[in-house]
């Protein structure tokens, strides 16, 4: 199984290489990628530097161009594909059908992976992309259970990549408009979710805190309570008489314990989420997953998740909590 790791910066890239990533995915610094945060991502010269380093160390470089190309600015997305091809990236990760078709026609030799943002959950959906845009691999949304992933691997000839660790999107990716509904900016169009420029932290005299997004109250934290980022689906809201995390509590996805099942199912690659994360975070997560995958491959019968690995991942998780998410039906 290939370990696919995130890099939002040169230092995160170095960290991922040093800790044993098999492949690293990056984005260009504009709205063509789904982690379009200020100060993140790669301009052309940094991307060239990354590719040189990747080649030298035998690591693959993938470029995520995984937002939806807007009608009036389609050329901007085409140019990103041209740029990835000129760079010599090993693959582009894309969701937009029109853009995938452009890449297939213009650069047939450059591998195309279907981004999770395309939200393909069935062999039939994958077959559509395969027939019309020649995808070789697909990243599967975090809404499927382990049994569903096993079925998908058995039914499709497209390589399957699943999320191993990181922020938990509880909505089918690429089909969530919650962010644009409240802020006007969305993952699909601007490559952002609950963007930082709309966040307001309001510290109160008693030590409590309000977190707001575009003026709307997303959460209230009592004095001393750990205040999380106001991502819309992780806020505390009132439904009828209950005030609670109506969608999901702050938690991270962690499928380390499912690694043997994922390998047995035929999963081709494990993706680590987090291009927005620090180099230190990337280094820690990648090092744990590298050890786990190596241990599994070395001796599949004796695979054991070491407590030290889980402790390290828990420390790096949102709210210090992790979950199997939809991989286990009990979560649903």
């Amino acid at each position: 199984m290939e370990l696919v790791c995130p890099a939002g910066s040169v230092n995160a890239f170095k960290a991922a290489v040093e800790q044993g990533a098999d492949a690293i995915y990056i984005g260009f610094n504009d709205s063509t990628n789904a982690r379009n945060f200020s100060g993140l991502n790669f301009n052309d010269s940094r991307a060239r530097w990354a590719l040189d380093m990747a080649r030298e160390k035998g690591v693959k470089l993938y470029v995520a161009i995984n937002t939806y190309a807007q009608a009036a600015k389609f050329q901007q997305w085409q140019q990103a594909v041209d740029q990835a091809a000129a760079l010599g990236a090993h693959a582009v990760i894309m969701a937009d059908i029109g853009l995938l078709a452009y890449a297939a026609q213009r650069y047939p030799q450059m591998q195309r992976h279907l981004s999770v943002q395309a939200s393909a959950t069935s062999a039939q959906a994958l077959a559509f992309y395969q027939q019309h845009t020649g995808i070789r691999r697909a990243v599967i949304p975090r809404v499927l259970s382990l049994a569903q992933i096993q079925a998908l691997c058995a039914q499709s000839s497209v390589g399957i990549e699943v999320f191993g660790f990181g922020s938990l999107c509880i909505m089918a990716e690429g089909r969530c408009h919650m962010s644009s509904y409240v802020t006007g900016e969305s993952p699909n169009m601007q490559g952002v979710c609950s963007p930082a420029k709309f966040v307001h932290w309001q510290e109160n005299a008693d030590g409590s805190m309000h977190s707001r997004l575009n003026g709307e109250l997303i959460d209230y934290f009592a004095p001393g309570e750990n205040a999380g980022y106001p991502t819309l689906c992780k806020g505390r809201f009132a439904v009828e008489d209950d005030t609670y995390h109506a969608f999901e509590a702050p938690t991270s996805l962690n499928t380390l314990e499912l690694l043997p099942e994922l390998q047995a199912a035929g999963v081709q690659a494990i993706k680590i989420e987090g291009r927005q994360r620090s180099p230190a975070y990337v280094a820690s997560v990648v090092s744990v997953w590298r050890k786990a995958i190596d241990s599994l491959q070395h001796n599949p019968q004796q695979f054991n998740v070491l407590p030290a690995w889980q402790n390290k991942l828990s420390e790096l998780s949102e709210g210090a909590q992790t979950t199997f998410g939809a991989y286990h039906r009990s979560w649903q």
Binding site: G184, N188, F237
Partner: protein
């Protein structure tokens, strides 16, 4: 401009569904979309019932009937239902997922891309048109300006454009059922909790603003989208069909009557504080941009 009634997004008792469509059959709507688009477990009407209803309505009303498919395909049984819809030739399919697009295209069944299919540019729409797409419903977050750009850059003849114009907008789909979660029930043993909610449950901020609605695995906009005051603009913008998305039966019929009143007298009645139109004007969806 034609007028359509979108699929019922909520889970209603069987009789309420049948009574509703008996009234819609007599309304000014030109097109009716039928079927379960949110949760495969909702079976007050199964696929055969929907197909029977489609035949009855087509015969009684003479309106175009389109079968709507599930937005989030998770199980093999969901694919089986889709296949059933694609094995008939009487009605177009509203594909709400790429699996539905693939099956319709394979069987050469004309299809409509529903609002959950991500069509953001002419290249995508053109590719789907080659596969048998006859109409697209614009993703709800897109604006008038965006539609302009689609029309201006389209290679060839655009398929019909339908715009979601009234109702709570579908914003997201999850593996998790939020209605079951609110009742502390597991999804696998949900007791069909959403059957009790005629139009979903409001999700309010702790300051009392309604942000969203939960409807099973679906999240809807907290405010009701309403482009009906802007019908004239929509008409001039190349919109072929406007969609009324069912809310309460009475509210939906009132919205339909409003459109008719507008076309006859240029007047509108509907408007309250929980409405929004921001997306159409390129703003955050929940805003009333043009008040």
């Amino acid at each position: 401009m034609k007028l359509s009634v979108g699929p019922i997004l909520y889970f209603w008792p069987r009789q309420q569904v049948l009574d509703f469509y008996a009234q819609v059959a007599e309304s000014s709507a030109d097109i009716i979309y039928l079927g379960e688009t949110v949760c495969a477990k909702r079976r007050e009407l199964n696929w055969r019932d929907w197909l029977d209803l489609a035949r009855d309505l087509a015969q009684i009303s003479g309106k175009q009937i389109v079968l709507s498919s599930l937005a989030l395909i998770e199980a093999q049984s969901d694919i089986k239902t889709l296949e059933k819809y694609c094995q008939q030739e009487e009605f177009w399919l509203e594909a709400n997922d790429m699996a539905a697009v693939q099956l319709a295209a394979q069987r050469q069944l004309p299809f409509v891309a529903g609002p959950a299919v991500n069509i953001y540019n002419p290249a995508t729409l053109a590719l789907l048109q080659q596969q048998g797409l006859k109409r697209w419903v614009m993703p709800v977050e897109l604006s008038a300006e965006h539609l302009n750009a689609m029309l201006a850059n389209y290679p060839g003849t655009m398929p019909e454009t339908e715009v979601f114009a009234w109702g709570h907008m579908p914003l997201a789909y999850s593996a998790r059922c939020f209605t079951a979660r609110q009742q502390n029930l597991p999804k696998d043993n949900c007791g069909f909790a959403c059957l009790a909610d005629n139009t979903g449950k409001d999700v309010n901020t702790q300051e009392g603003n309604t942000l969203f609605k939960i409807n099973g695995i679906q999240t809807l906009s907290g405010h009701c989208y309403n482009l009906l005051p802007h019908l004239q603009q929509l008409q001039g913008q190349g919109v072929d069909i406007i969609r009324i998305s069912p809310e309460t039966p009475a509210g939906t019929l009132a919205a339909l009557a409003n459109v008719q009143a507008f076309s006859q007298r240029g007047q509108f009645i509907l408007r309250d504080e929980k409405q929004c139109d921001g997306y159409w004007f390129g703003r955050e969806g929940m805003q009333i941009a043009n008040s």
